[in-house]
Symmetry: C2
Amino acid sequence: MVNTDVLIIGGSAAGLVSAMTVKSVNKDKKVTLVRKEEKVMIPCGIPYIFGTIGTSDKNILPDQGLVNLGVDIVVDEITSIDTETKTALAKSGEKYKYEKLILGTGSEPSIPAWLKGADKENVFTIPKRKEYLDTLQEKLNGKKQILIVGAGFIGVEVADELNKKGFDITLVEILPHILGVAFDQEFAENAKTALTERGVKVLNDTGIKEILGKDKVESVLLTDGTTLDADAVILSLGYQPNSALAKDMGLKINECGFIETDQYKRTSKKDIFAVGDCSEKKDFLTGKLSKIMLASTACAEARVAGLNLYSLSTVSTFRGTIGIYSTSIGDMAYGVAGLTESIAIKEGFDIVTASFTGVDTHPGCIEHSQKQTVKLIVSKKNGVILGGEAMGGRSVGELTNVLGFIIQNNMTINNLLVAQIGTQPMLTASPAGYPLIKAAEIASRML
Amino acid sequence: MVNTDVLIIGGSAAGLVSAMTVKSVNKDKKVTLVRKEEKVMIPCGIPYIFGTIGTSDKNILPDQGLVNLGVDIVVDEITSIDTETKTALAKSGEKYKYEKLILGTGSEPSIPAWLKGADKENVFTIPKRKEYLDTLQEKLNGKKQILIVGAGFIGVEVADELNKKGFDITLVEILPHILGVAFDQEFAENAKTALTERGVKVLNDTGIKEILGKDKVESVLLTDGTTLDADAVILSLGYQPNSALAKDMGLKINECGFIETDQYKRTSKKDIFAVGDCSEKKDFLTGKLSKIMLASTACAEARVAGLNLYSLSTVSTFRGTIGIYSTSIGDMAYGVAGLTESIAIKEGFDIVTASFTGVDTHPGCIEHSQKQTVKLIVSKKNGVILGGEAMGGRSVGELTNVLGFIIQNNMTINNLLVAQIGTQPMLTASPAGYPLIKAAEIASRML
């Protein structure tokens, strides 16, 4: 029996950051992190092991931060927990007695139950397990035609990376656009063009019905009735929260399958917190349940849990996910924070939207200059910025964080008009043509 | 006599943006912008005409935005203004009758009165006038050794650009560091190393006493008593606000020579506003008079003046300059917003500071990966972030704007710990190792 003050289950972003936060804030507490994996993948880096990075060995989340702080890392699997006696049982037979528990059990790729043939050889998903990913990468060796199903971020990034490696990639997506849930149409179409120009074949409004072949994949039957030859299929159809252990423990699970948590990331049972992909998310702007899983959101939740574990702070709460993320296709980058236009309208917001396209250097003749577009989604009622989208060169990554802070601070169009930004010829758009502020100007004339 | 509703004097960033704002908000008003220059330089682009851009012809602020909105552009010089009759007289003899007046008369390079030899041939400054810059560029042709005096942003950027072109550049700076007023020591030292490694000779703690030579520059006498041969000297010793016209009009001028303005950018006389380099700046955090001149600040002030010209809005005020800017040396970028550590201490703030260095992609093995450092300057009293500095790859440009919005929203360390950021392998640092948030974590343990 191991006695620990804090037991953390899961070693990905959520587990790592909550362990570091707890131990930083409570130096005297013994913190034990139990995880299944010897080596943990950097979650967002996974698509890039197939191309840019080349191998999962270069995509390892470092343990050094935990080790330096004095967190105990155990590679094992917790199979059951008795919340009465506060005891956890591991696969190895070891038992852990804890005072406080944080669940960061993550998520697993979804495979739809209706999909026939998903059990054939050379049908893959993109989980976060190193061994699986290594095997997948090995098995793709020598293959030619790869079909990727689902054009969310992971599907798009994996498609772009495998295409870079010379595979013949077809990406099918049942929705009319790629990245279509995250972005408005004009951004999604730009991304599709970028991906297509790089050689990926993209089929929208197209799903799969069945994976065909004897034992191995040979072809795929699509929703339009055609079949497509394929040596391998990668299913990228979203992720399911790993909440089975939590359910067994008697924790409340929400209708989307996530562990219910409050603003402190406390679950329905005392002294048990949940963070990251497995834990409930509510949208920052609509208050509705959200299914968006992001490592960066997980890190924020993990900090909140860590800061509140032993003593609550009303100013250190998680105020809802703003759905902030970015992706990259070749030299183009796409970012979003908050609500898209289509979701805002669907939710019943009375909005105006404004877009501005400029260049990300000034003047625009500088060699590395790229077009940059910013779109703002704004409440007509009060000018509050509900969402923002950006596309352009790599600076869009941090520009997305500018949008994120604007939304998290409930800033208005008027706030933006009088806001000070910093500009530099080689690094940003010009002060008089900065797309974010220009979009705000346009929006202001519509309010 | 030209009758106009709004007369704007000056065609650089401040004049341009105030004209556009006024005309957007007041479509029926006749807006006339009088400027001295036929073609206006993009102010921040000027150092880059000497290298990257190659010619001032590619660094022109476009008129299209003004033309499209219906602003009248006149190339002329206003020489005197009668505020009683609301009439402006131009050099050409033309008179303008106005209802509202906005002064955006800009700034001129400073030449210290004590400096002997500044009138010799081949001694230059960096004003914003195209003809001067074209002549300067022409005259540098065939020269070899160039001495640049003053290592602020302009001095550093011009040094880096001319060095790129093969000139033999020495940069002298009386302060112990380059960029030394804007950044704390560790950032300034990194910038010096970057500049030195690129071939620029940097002499700190060194000023000039006299420029020597018959008619032309031949050498320069330095404060340490040595002389240095030079074919040309570029003085980059700061800028003086152009407030002579305003003084003649009877407007109040502050002790630093700037036109006094309030939070709406109104001057001391009714219906007259002033924006940009010529107008008073107060520090956002200290409330003290500031001399920092930035095109991006000018644009924010211009919007404020434009929005308040005909009808005041208490939420559209200029709340003080946060001194937000960035610069670039080779593939390194440096950015700052708010107070540096040294200024915060000097001003009497009780502070903690925290720095974190990570990489700007994740994992760090991605080809375009660069180290990224963020430093936060934090009030011990309440955790409010008073300033931030960043250095790393090009994404530091927009990361500086993240810092800017954090400061402008009076965010605290605690706000940052629970804030959501967006991260992507190719575009940003990792979610668990994002330098801004890691620095906040470190700071939180010191509060």
